[in-house]
Structures are given as structure tokens and as C-alpha cells.
Amino acid sequence: MNTQSLTIDAHEPGTPPGDLAIWFFIFAELLAFGVFFGSYAFARAHHVELFNQSQQLLNRASGAINALVLITSSYFVVRAVAAIKQGLSRQCANWLGAAIALGGVFIVIKLFEFHAKFSAGISLSTNTFYMFYLSLTIFHFMHVILGMVILAFVMAKARSGGYSIEHHTGVETGASYWHMVDLVWVILFPLVYVIR
């Protein structure tokens, strides 16, 4: 068997954009979140009243705004990839910068939300609902930070002209990860904030 087949020059048709390794990681992460979502749902089945009551006390508006922020940020990243495919390094870096800035907005809104909860004396041990709410959102929060770090590296390299029409796997890799972070919130928001 040809062992060189994994190191081909162009992007292999049929495989997702970016480095294949990141996709293993993305699916591993989605699996972890998926198990957590399932756990939340089944724990809720045992404590429907508690979950419905506690859910009412969440700041649904900030959750929804954050969903819009991440979706828009993801859209900017799509534009960044489109830009580098035309060889427009500067535009690519600018779009990425905008995406990172929106990531920052997400962080700030989330911090306000956490601050409100913590100062109300809520912690992981308050009840099962808050255990899940805090675990899921903090776990996701850390992913947003990680995603921003990744995008920042990609942006810096794009700005210094490190990518081109032919060689931009790095941009696609970072983009794919960021979309995963977005995807998780798109599921998390209705599950934790809305469904009752």
C-alpha cells in the first residue's frame, strides 16, 4: 500500500476542509458535548419541575444574543475563507479579526451572565439544573476562548502573508473548529434556555 497517500499535495476531494486531524478532534468534542446534552435531557426527565422552574430564572435574552453573535462570527469566518481562496490575505485577516472581536463580545456577555448567577450564590452544587447549566456553559465558554486563540494565530499568519490561493489549509482548519464552537451553542441554547 502506498504510505504516501496521506501526504498529497492538493486537497483530497470528498474530505472536509482543513486538516483531517482537526476533524477527528471536532468529532471527539462533539461526542463529549453530545453525551452531556443527552445527560442533561435524561436528568431533566427525572426533575421536570425543578428544571422548568430554574430555567425561568435564566437570562434568555443574553443567551439568544450570544447565539446571534456566534452565528455572525461564524459567517465572518466563512468570508475569511472565501477571501483567502481569492488570495486576498488582508481581507482574510480582517474578517478573522471581526470574528475574534465577536468572540470577545460573546465572552463579555457570558461573563455578565455568570457574574449575575455567582453573585446570586449559585454554584455547581446548587441543584442538578444549575450543575448542568454551569458545566455546559463554562465548558463551552472555554471552547470559545480556545477557538479565539486558534483564530488569532491564523489571523496573525494571514496578516503576514502566510497563506495563499494554493496553500490555506490552516485557515480552513481554524474555521472548521470555530464553526464547531458555533454549532454547539446552536444546540445548547434551545436545549437549556428554551425547551420546557
Binding site: T7, E12, S123, S125, I138, F139, M142, L146
Partner: protein, 143 residues
């Protein structure tokens, strides 16, 4: 040359992932440390309890027994022995083990030659251990 699956990406994921999850462990541990005082009742750790733990360790009790389910599985669980048997029974039992053992297939417990003080300390330790909030483990009094 762009590659579909690069070693450097795999390496970055390893370092990033390891750091990320270790930080998460530290964060969760930090929260646990805040919550623990309510669950372990550390205000009840008297000198006797602390000495009792030392007696427990110096005689390698964990080499046969379990304590909160951890240890060897050769002899009964002792996390709830205070509730199961009471302090006096525990003391009498430890004291009465024959040094040469009892012939037969029954599992043997050594004679540890504990002083009365050490016995009292041990019981204080086991009593305190029995009051830890273990999320209702063990399932029943038999441990």
C-alpha cells in the same frame, strides 16, 4: 504543500487538548475545595480523629479493608463500620485477635497490639469517616 493530515496539527491538538483539560480539572478541583467543608465536616476533625487516621495508616489497614470503597477487597468495608457495629464492638474485635491466628479457612486479622488510647483514636476516626457525605454510598449497611 498542503497535507490532508499533518503531524504538526496532531501535535497541536495534543498539547492544546491536554492543557485545556488539565485547566478544566484544576478549575473543577478549585470548586470542589470550596464545597468540601460542607461535606466532610472538617470542624469535627479533632486531635483524636487525626491520631486515629495515623493509627489506621501505621498498621496498613487499607491492605485488607476498604474505606469508602477504596483499598483491598479482602475484608469488610469500614467507612460505615461505626454505624454497623458501634465503637465498643470495633475496639473489642481489634483487641481480641489471637496473635497466632485461628486455624482453619477463615480469613485472619493480625493482632496489632494497640493501646487503649490508640483504640479510642481509631474509633474516633472511623466515627468521623462515617459522617462524611458520600452521596449515600454504600447502598446498604453491609457496605
Amino acid at each position: 504543500m498542503s497535507q490532508a493530515f499533518t503531524k504538526s496539527m496532531a501535535r497541536n491538538i495534543f498539547f492544546g487538548g491536554a492543557t485545556f483539560f488539565f485547566l478544566l480539572l484544576v478549575a473543577l478541583s478549585f470548586d470542589t475545595m470550596q464545597v468540601l467543608p460542607k461535606r466532610d465536616h472538617r470542624e469535627n476533625i479533632t486531635d483524636a480523629v487525626a491520631r486515629g487516621k495515623a493509627v489506621w495508616e501505621k498498621n496498613d489497614c487499607i491492605g485488607c479493608h476498604t474505606l469508602l470503597g477504596e483499598g483491598a477487597y479482602y475484608a469488610p468495608e469500614l467507612g460505615n463500620v461505626y454505624k454497623r457495629r458501634g465503637g465498643e464492638f470495633v475496639k473489642a474485635w481489634i483487641k481480641s485477635r489471637p496473635a497466632e491466628g485461628t486455624p482453619g479457612d477463615r480469613r485472619q486479622m493480625p493482632q496489632f497490639n494497640l493501646t487503649d488510647q490508640e483504640l479510642d483514636d481509631m474509633v474516633a476516626f472511623l466515627k468521623w469517616t462515617g459522617e462524611i457525605n458520600t452521596n449515600n454510598w454504600p447502598p446498604n449497611i453491609e457496605g
